[in-house]
Symmetry: C2
């Protein structure tokens, strides 16, 4: 590293007022009780866990973050594996639960090569394995005696699981399967933890018995030697190369040349082959799998709030510290204005601040609904139930609700991850030039987050599932056979009132805002239904309409969940009156800003008038920005993201932005060890020239 | 690098149909004459130059791109300097002109540490230096005997040049300047080529004479020794660290501790200090500087088309090769559908295809206008003119036009670079999972391009200049003193017709589309004027309106320029009838897709009816997508971007997408040289366990 700066440099301070003073001023002008709000958002236990883990992990050299953005991929990957190992060691020593391990990984701040082992490999073995398979694979995997991954995606197939090309052929003679990659595009691809780390994989392959295909099934396949870590024979495996982000993960490829595995390696909880009869036995309980995906997607919604919060925390604090230009209408000798005072900055950042709260409460609402329903169904299907009683009915209602939850979780996953991903980039740009520095902490985090928009269902693909569900629900409502859930309710409401028309007072009544979003969704649903069922238009020609419909529906769900959260007795009892009213303002800002951006749909569905939209834009949103502005810093403080996790010069909670940028550039930047010969030609050529232009 | 794959892997091919077959099919279904269209877009000379340079540069090992995305910053920077040096050597040997050097740099595909020397340093010396200063600095800089940069931005000040803190104090006693950094935020920051490479800088500093400030002026300051390349005394200089992109450039910081430089080092073409009287002599010809910025911004508009073309070329070709799912309405045994056939993909890619043509023609139009005006002004102000004749009038008309060009170039720079930057990310996501791989060629290029949205005027800041100009023009129109330019014309037209209302037939008449865009701009201008002048609203409260206004105006300009280009006799004579009509379809797609996205403004300004907007979305745009779809591959082929420049597995002109992804991952990926010990605990612990789960 470079030598420390000379004394005359060390003596320099940023021009005043100092960042620390500006943030202190921000915090002084708001009464938001940051601690109470934090606890309400995250629980006291979670905050304490976070503090404890920061104190434990930050001092360890192995977790140092200072070189993350300068190193090449080889070294980053090696260091990341070292971090993962050390975390696992501590986890065992300290007997961490899942939440502690999860929080520790979040604090480390990068995906590690153990990532897919610790998540998808263990989950799949647990959920899809039999007790025998648990003993054989899961127990050893939990002890990190085997390291695994989940190998589904192929070079030629991502979204379309049915199109997978890898085959698993049942050999009835020796009771084994042959795993094979018939083409180059059959190569497994993008498989996290596989590139260099895993020695086992759960491989999704097309099951063939007697030449007949039974669709994709999961198989446990060993791919590397447990001692030498070299690939096994007839296995070709490696890392797929550098990526836009996620470079601390060894996403891998995997080809098989007719590799045999025993019968027990097909994960057999839901479907299996009877060894004696060579018959395929049908899958059981498919709704449970359905349920897992719903849980995963709801979790993405909840996390999206936290992801966005990182960007908004950084950009908001920096916009309070950064001053640029005078206000044009200000006194001639006024100082430069905090960037956060400019309406053009507020209109970019504060709706995102509202969005992070909106997504958080929506994710929470989804999770609660999911868990309620799961326990209801579990109770209903448990043997203790009266067999002639409420059991089956409850089960059916539960299945209806699960179908609704599944569809809504698809749409919300798409909306939430797009909002968070694109929002991070808005935050980065709102930081001006310094947003481009890796020390801003936004760029690298954004790059690592982006795959979320594609995985667990591509955000565009998912919208078709939402549309399909809404069309189905609309048909059921029209035929009088609708289910008892919220989606059916808003469709029925619309039909009942369509002739009278809507007259929602979105500028004055919060409940009317929710109703206007519901109205627009219902309107677009019946429009789409007309195109598909009456006009018989092709599915393909309607994809854009479906995408708009899904977005509209998901925005309605966020608005509804946010409204319910800010109106809830829990929130009322946890927060003081002022903070509570601020939460209402955030709700209104999220909803009205969205309404204004989607004005054309709200207008053409008749949910609101053009006059209302104009007033929303020019008056209501502007007023909300004024209302929220003084509390912006405290509202991001309440998210309680530790400085170590933010890893951002711009977003430091102490406001020492410029000191930190300068310290990192001059003291942590290996480029400054280089001495260049800057000339394209040999220096000797210079000898004929005057040596210097100095005094 | 890893050993080659085993024979059984080498024998594998992608599942058919092959990418090469699919692209051949695409090219067979369109009659677009790619060669003619290429020549019309780029000129034959430019295409030949490009071919010649690819053949020359690609074989040289120093220009190898295969490790760009795997290396750390230190090594990338070193290699990039080597590339820059080698280019400069060839340039001198082969006596390249500016265009050849520029094209070569584009082909190399990364910013190099010579970047700011070769552009801003030389340009500033040339344009702002006196003949004496040319001899002293420019001549040596041109021979690379001194290497320089342009040091304006500071740690605490980017956009606001007047707020710069670095000072240059005139010492009347010894006729020198003292350059000083009074604070930490005065540190120069983001200065390209300064971090490790430059030994000179043009430093923008606040000039003080006798305690009085004269604003920022340019000074040539040596910062490193010409022999040892070590920083000079009282200069603290270094690299600012890793960035979201642009990591092959050594953006630097720079602090001065009262460094003295001679009188001759203040660039004195436009303003200077008289050595004898110690008086400041006023700047001359400020419009010329004004003109340079206009040229730079117009050039960004032109380039934006090419930037977007790279993303669109990659995404379009890959969408033709990639197949995923069956069409839902297709026969049960139809094969998987090319992704490019899905409307949800078309609606993302084809409007961007139209945009790249739109920006290209707009940039060209701007450049032509600028050059016309420059030569007119030069002629008018030349001594040969009749002094009582058209000269002064011509000059005033020229200045009016230049003011118009300046404002329009600000707005267009913002719109064009935002469209290109955000468009690249749309292209990347349209490639699905593989878009995230660095081998897609989009991500790294996007990261390098993003600063364009911030530099040469932050895209949000710039919109204020456009609004200011439009308000001024509107006031002039109202007082009957409007200038003779297009902006005044559309404002006058709107006023004349406002009472009658508009009735533009945007669905049938191309000229009416242009008129509708003009109408919306004029409407928003007079709305903003009312808020500011009649309602006396604060400037800050109108920033969002100004941004919308500037965007509207710039979209009008693109639509107008594109329309003029596709209707021009030059295009008609260069292209066959079918391609010409396709250019009209691209114009309509760009315009109508924009109209639909901005529907609320078009509707509320009364430019179109809600019915027209609905038809635009559901019918007109869909029909245009169908029309353009079969020609998409040829339309990107015509952009003639060499494969070596694209550096993309997905965008290869031969369609060998999967072979190339696999080759790079397995053969060019240094990560595959690593062998991990994957266990968190010492391997010895395993000895008690069964060694393998193999057969």
């Amino acid at each position: 590293m470079p030598s420390p700066p000379p004394d005359w440099v060390k003596a320099l301070k940023p021009a005043g007022p100092q960042g620390s003073e500006l943030l202190a001023q921000e915090r002084a002008q708001s009464n938001v009780n940051v601690e109470k709000l934090s606890e309400y958002l995250h629980t006291k236990a979670a905050l304490e866990r976070q503090d404890k883990l920061v104190a434990l992990l930050q001092p360890e050299k192995v977790f140092d973050k200072s070189q993350n953005h300068s190193l090449g991929r080889v070294e980053r990957l090696q260091r990341s594996l070292a971090k993962a190992k050390r975390l696992q060691q501590i986890a065992e020593q300290q007997k961490w639960n899942m939440e502690e391990l999860h929080t520790a990984n979040e604090l480390i701040g990068e995906p590690t090569p153990y990532g897919l082992h610790a998540s998808m490999f263990l989950v799949t073995l647990r959920e899809q394995g039999t007790p025998e398979q648990h003993k054989l694979f899961l127990e050893r995997a939990q002890k990190y005696q085997i390291i695994g991954c989940y190998a589904q995606t192929e070079l030629g197939h991502g979204s379309n699981v049915r199109g997978l090309e890898t085959t698993a052929t049942w050999n009835s003679d020796d009771k084994t399967f042959t795993i094979n990659s018939p083409t180059l595009t059959a190569s497994k691809w993008w498989i996290g933890s596989l590139g260099r780390t895993a020695n086992h994989a759960v491989v999704m392959a097309q099951l063939f018995i007697d030449g007949k295909s039974f669709g994709p099934h999961p198989f446990v396949v060993q791919v590397r030697d447990l001692e030498t870590h070299q690939p096994l024979e007839n296995v070709y495996v490696g890392d797929i190369g550098p990526k836009f982000g996620y470079n601390t993960m060894d996403n891998g490829f995997l080809l098989f040349n007719k590799v045999k595995i025993p019968h027990v390696n097909m994960l057999a909880r839901f479907s299996r082959i009877d060894k004696d009869t060579n018959k395929y036995l049908r899958p059981a309980l498919p709704t449970l799998v359905y349920g897992t995906l719903t849980w995963v997607r709801s979790n993405i919604v909840l996390q999206a709030g936290g992801v966005l919060a990182r960007g908004v925390t950084i950009a908001t604090r920096y916009a309070a510290v950064r001053r640029q230009f005078q206000d044009r209408d200000a006194e001639p000798h006024a100082g430069e204005n905090q960037v956060l005072n400019y309406k053009m900055v507020q209109v970019r950042l504060l709706p995102l601040l509202a969005s992070m709260y909106a997504l958080h409460f929506t994710g929470r609402g989804m999770m609660a609904l999911y868990e309620q329903n799961q326990s209801r169904m579990k109770a209903a299907s448990s043997p203790g139930q009266d067999s002639r009683g409420a059991g089956p009915e409850e089960l059916r209602a539960g299945a209806d609700l699960l179908a609704d939850l599944h569809a809504t979780s698809c749409g919300l996953k798409a909306l939430a991850s797009t909002t968070a991903g694109e929002g991070l980039e808005v935050c980065r740009r709102a930081c001006g030039g310094h947003g481009y520095s890796s020390y801003s902490g936004i760029g690298p985090y954004y790059s690592d987050y982006l795959p979320t928009l594609t995985w667990e269902g591509d955000n565009y693909m998912l919208t078709q599932q939402v549309a399909r569900y809404l069309l189905k629900s609309a048909r059921a409502v029209l035929s009088g056979k609708s289910a008892d859930n919220d989606t059916s309710r808003i469709l029925r409401n619309y039909l009942n009132r369509r002739d009278k028309g809507a007259s929602f007072d979105v500028l004055e009544e919060d409940a009317d805002i929710v109703a206007a979003f519901a109205w627009r969704t219902a309107h677009l649903t019946f429009e789409a239904l007309k195109h598909r069922d009456a006009e018989k238009r092709s599915w393909n020609s309607l994809l854009v309409d479906f995408w708009r419909l899904s977005t509209a529906h998901s925005q309605y769900l966020v608005v509804k969940n946010f409204y319910e959260a800010v109106s809830s007795p829990q929130l009322a009892s946890a927060l003081d009156q002022e903070t509570k009213s601020l939460m209402h303002s955030l709700f209104r800002l999220y909803a009205l800003h969205t309404l204004e951006r989607e004005a054309a749909e709200f207008f053409s569905s008749g949910a609101v008038t053009v006059r209302q939209i104009t007033l929303t834009r020019t008056t209501a949103v502007m007023k909300l920005l004024d209302e929220i502005r003084p509390h912006a810093v405290r509202l991001v403080d309440a998210w309680a993201i530790p400085d170590w996790q933010l890893d951002s010069s711009l977003g430091r909670s102490d406001g020492q932005v410029y000191e930190d940028l300068f310290r990192r550039a001059s003291q942590e930047n290996p480029v400054n060890d280089l001495v260049f010969d800057p000339y394209p030609w040999n220096k000797a050529l210079l000898k004929n020239e005057p040596a210097k232009s100095k005094l």
